[in-house]
Symmetry: C2
Subunit: 186 residues, 2 copies
Amino acid sequence: MEEVRRRDREGTRQRILEAARRLFAELGYDQVTMRLIAAEADANIALINRYFGAKRELFAEVLAMQGRFPGVLEGPQEELPRRLAEYVADRLLSDRGSPVMAALSRSSATPEIQGIIKDRVSSAIMEPLAGRLGGEDARLRASIATALITGSGTLRQLFGQDALEAPAREVVVERLARVFEVCLAP
Amino acid sequence: MEEVRRRDREGTRQRILEAARRLFAELGYDQVTMRLIAAEADANIALINRYFGAKRELFAEVLAMQGRFPGVLEGPQEELPRRLAEYVADRLLSDRGSPVMAALSRSSATPEIQGIIKDRVSSAIMEPLAGRLGGEDARLRASIATALITGSGTLRQLFGQDALEAPAREVVVERLARVFEVCLAP
DNA sequence: TAAGTTAGTAGACGCACGTTTACTTCGTCA
DNA sequence: TGACGAAGTAAACGTGCGTCTACTAACTTA
């Protein structure tokens, strides 16, 4: 009753990439082993290295695959705090985190990929944010907002989705929006 | 020219504990090996296990050794935001982080110690903070502040002490204080 | 000073990881 | 149809980790 596997290079590559994305997002870099990815992708472990080189290159490709900080930065400037608040609240309350941010907040301890993560946070969050802000200390304000974003990821990971003892989403968004507003105001 | 080591159980224990504190604070749980601690403490590796049991128990003891969130929570209530701001700013700008917080923000990926860290964040930061606040959604407000605190630790680790492109300390404190004020206000 | 206790030591154990090698099987095209 | 390239596989390699065991040597005590 063994299924005969169709030989499909690109398909296998995509299965590996998708499995890696899912696992890195959920568990962080260190906790995800090559064997785990292979099992999740239902592929042979040697193929991962063949298609992606090393583990850190696969991780880099997963990050590169993600769009920029999804859509949050686009839109009218005056609603930016609220969009950030909604993004963070959803990550805090939902049962699964955003791949990029979760990976970031869970993987930054490993020197092997610190450079990759640093670049990603810079280019996908901090710099676009600072660019949008303008005014005095734009970089500082963007940094504080970034700290709040990554910190909420850490909290989510530590305490799970019940970190906030489940107040209504609207309450959380409202609070966060007010905080982001002060963060970002000149 | 070999130094003859004096036999000193308590002294050796303390050297190990202090070396572990320093290393965990700087590098995080995963990156610190038993052999590294032994070398830093100038002690034999087997003694670590003899005196502390396993690595995670040593880590727990290091955390327990630290005072509660040092002094920040004590003092007049109306200056609490500013004290938090100063604490965070100093950690962001100084050349060495706080042991507990650094360990927290760098070590949370490892399931082995997730429980330890969770308890510590709860009992040393979030709960005392929530207790001090009172009013509506005290827990939520404390959580947001905690996210900002831990997030700034992550930033500090990723970008080093020049994360903020070194504006004056006073500017950073001022900004952060305003943000914390909104965080904590009822 | 001899015996016993215990701090300190060297080295090995087992395990899990990322990575690589040697091999097998499938699909294609001359 | 048969040969060749590439997809897929199984097993091993080397490394570094936390932990443990068997031993040595220093101090204490009778």
